[in-house]
């Protein structure tokens, strides 16, 4: 019998006992729905986590320090490679070299200094740090009021909310109680005067440099709730100004005194350079390349590796739980088809008497099982998607109540849809295996004998 005929006859048979077959199909769709729901939750959570980590900038950044610098993140690194005294300087030349490595998007010096800021004619002392324009998309500024810098060298400043509260004369003892919106409104657009010390070379005299005092008016454009103690490169700074602005200021750095020899040269010296990598996957290679240049490096790559392993295991378990329901449903298929054999005993006998071969009968039952699986798979995927949307909706309501921004914890990729339907189809065919061979082996003489 041709495939089309098998499918047509199977469709007719399914319609004959529509209630029973619908219930079986419903069972499959519930099984598929639970599988889809479980897996899309796992995938969604994984995507949420990696999205967060990607935006945090922690996992695609490498912190580069000089071996000469005593402030190392990892003392072990000093055991290998050249001795600190013979290591190269982490200067502008080195920064350009790092920036030109394949996979590096940008490499910028981590510039920061403590200085006096005047607001309302009152002096305040705080750490100022440079912030590259690329940080605009980082989720560090998710809760920011106002806007990001208009240009890389704009005379603008973004305040940490604690410092903003200090400017307004509010208590800063409990940072959690400070609402960004409350402190931002009176400050946005106001002027702040930053006093800073510029390091200037004394002409040909390389042995010394002058320090010139400057005053620079800055416009407050944003207030952020960025945690000053976070692990970001700009940690502990409470004011951020554009990276290009701070680089052009040649501010006096803490290490200038210690490294006075090199500091006076035209090639600026940096304590820390942050290299941003085009993807988390390339961090390892780039890190090795930077180490070869003779610098110390630090990244949090290993954390992503264990995270990926965790999610692989989570997905596996969610998949197993989801599959359990499908297994139950597949037993339903076996049951329905075995019942159908009993019911259609005579019909099978007639078919054999008029010339149906074993494979014709088998094909017919396979087609019925496959049709139930396919329909159940499609319905189940839709059902799973609806369940997912509902849970996502509910979770977001809860998150919003708890004061978190809504997130997509649910993801149903195309491969999951195709995979779930295909899997349901496959499982149903396997379920049809036994009933089909049983029907094919039915003795037509026996089948036709009884009325």
């Amino acid at each position: 019998m041709k495939l089309y005929d098998s499918i047509e006859l199977a469709g007719r048979n399914l319609r004959e006992s529509v209630l029973r077959n619908s219930l079986t199909t419903l069972g499959i769709s519930v099984g598929v729905a639970s599988l889809v729901a479980m897996l899309s939750l796992g995938i969604g959570l994984q995507q949420l986590a990696s999205r967060r980590l990607q935006r945090s900038g922690l996992f695609d950044s490498i912190v580069v320090t000089s071996r000469r610098d005593l402030r190392n993140f990892n003392r072990d690194q000093e055991e290998s490679g050249p001795a600190p005294e013979q290591s190269p300087d982490l200067n502008e030349t080195a920064r350009l070299k790092i920036a030109s490595l394949p996979g590096v998007v940008e490499a910028y010096p981590d510039l920061r200094f403590i200085t006096e800021l005047r607001f309302d004619d009152k002096p305040h002392l705080s750490m100022v740090a440079g912030m590259p324009m690329s940080n605009k998309d980082s989720d560090s500024f998710e809760g920011m009021q106002g806007r990001f810098f208009s240009a890389g060298d704009a005379h603008e400043v973004i305040l940490q909310k604690g410092f903003a509260a200090e400017l307004l004369g509010k208590s800063t003892r409990n940072p959690d109680e400070i609402k960004v919106g409350d402190v931002a409104q009176p400050l946005l657009g106001k002027q702040l005067v930053m006093r800073y010390a510029e390091r200037q070379s004394n002409g040909e005299d390389a042995e010394s440099f002058s320090v010139i005092s400057h005053e620079l008016p800055l416009t407050i454009v944003g207030v952020t709730d960025l945690d000053p103690d976070s692990m970001r490169g700009s940690a502990r700074a409470r004011l951020f100004i554009p990276q290009n602005l701070i680089e052009g200021m040649h501010p006096m750095q803490a290490y200038d005194m210690r490294e006075s020899n090199s500091a006076t040269s035209r090639d600026a010296l940096y304590a820390t350079v942050i290299a941003r990598i085009s993807g988390a996957g390339k961090v390892d290679t780039v890190e090795q390349a930077i180490k070869k240049l003779g610098f110390n490096t630090f990244s949090i790559l290993d954390a992503t590796k264990s995270m990926r392993r965790f999610f692989a295991i989570l997905d596996l378990f969610l998949g197993i739980f989801g599959s359990l329901a499908l297994t139950v449903a597949s037993i339903g298929i076996v049951n329905t088809l075995v019942m159908a054999i009993l019911e259609r005993r005579r019909e099978i006998g007639i078919m054999k008497a008029v010339g149906a071969s074993d494979s014709d009968v088998k094909g017919l039952f396979f087609a019925e099982a496959g049709a139930m699986g396919l329909l159940g798979g499609i319905a189940g995927t839709v059902l799973g998607w609806i369940i997912g949307r509902a849970i996502n909706f509910g979770t977001n309501i809860y998150m919003r109540r708890q004061g978190f921004p809504p997130e997509d914890i649910w993801s149903v990729p195309v491969w999951l849809v195709a995979g779930a339907i295909g899997f349901a189809f496959l499982v149903s065919l396997v379920s049809g295996l036994y009933p089909a061979s049983r029907a094919a082996k039915l003795d037509p003489v026996q089948a036709l004998r009884y009325e």
Partner: protein, 224 residues
């Protein structure tokens, strides 16, 4: 069933010639239906052999037996054995599906087969909407759709009144004569056998007890 072996057909040896109309007579349990199933390739003998058109049925695979049932023999039953969920024309078309006949040709073939049995007006009816005689004529059309050489009829009039029984049997006789089709008729009605069959084979307890040419048919044949 049970532990005792029942010899439904026991030591039967007979030869049926192409184009013959043979009646297998006997009381119920005499083994006539079992013999018919052997001829149909639905059952296989524990010993001995069935040879049709020079082919040993015992040597055929299950698939070849299915093909044999599909193309060489056609069957009609006492209880018609139509599939109730299918319309008349779909029932007649069913063997064509198994024979993998082109979809486009099936409708016309089935319709013409039904025309031969005089049921052109009932194509889209369900079997249950037809009378017994009509149902048996549908079964006959189905048996003949693939053009077999042999028609095996198991008590075809058993569920019919005498008038419609006669109608069906007239049709069978017509096919036998017009198309030189071999007919094996299983019946317990002596009168019916004598009226239509050329050869009467009587069975009891699985054995052939009488095998003779039908004297009344011979006479009828001489008259015509």
């Amino acid at each position: 069933m049970g532990s005792a072996t029942i010899r439904a057909v026991d030591g039967v040896s007979l030869e049926i010639h192409a184009g013959d109309f043979v009646a297998l007579l006997g009381a119920s349990g005499s083994g006539k239906s079992s013999l018919l199933n052997l001829l149909a390739g639905l059952d296989s003998p524990t010993s001995g052999s069935v040879v049709v058109n020079g082919n040993y049925l015992g040597g055929l695979s299950r698939n070849e037996l299915a093909a044999y049932r599909r193309h060489t023999v056609g069957m009609v039953f006492q209880s018609f054995n139509l599939i109730p969920s299918m319309t008349v024309i779909e029932n007649v078309e069913l063997p064509l599906r198994f024979a993998e006949v082109d979809r486009a040709k099936r409708g016309a073939l089935a319709a013409s087969a039904l025309e031969k049995v005089g049921l052109s007006a009932r194509l889209e009816h369900r079997p249950i909407e037809l009378s017994g005689g009509e149902q048996q004529r549908v079964a006959l059309a189905r048996a003949l759709i693939n053009g077999p050489n042999i028609l095996l009829a198991d008590e075809p009039t058993g569920n019919l009144d005498s008038r419609t029984g006669t109608e069906v049997m007239d049709l069978v006789r017509q096919l036998n004569e017009a198309m030189q089709m071999t007919v094996v008729l299983v019946t317990h009605e002596h009168d019916l056998a004598e009226k239509y069959a050329d050869r009467l084979i009587s069975m009891a307890d699985g054995k052939v007890i009488a095998d003779q040419w039908n004297p009344s048919r011979a006479a009828a044949g001489a008259q015509s």
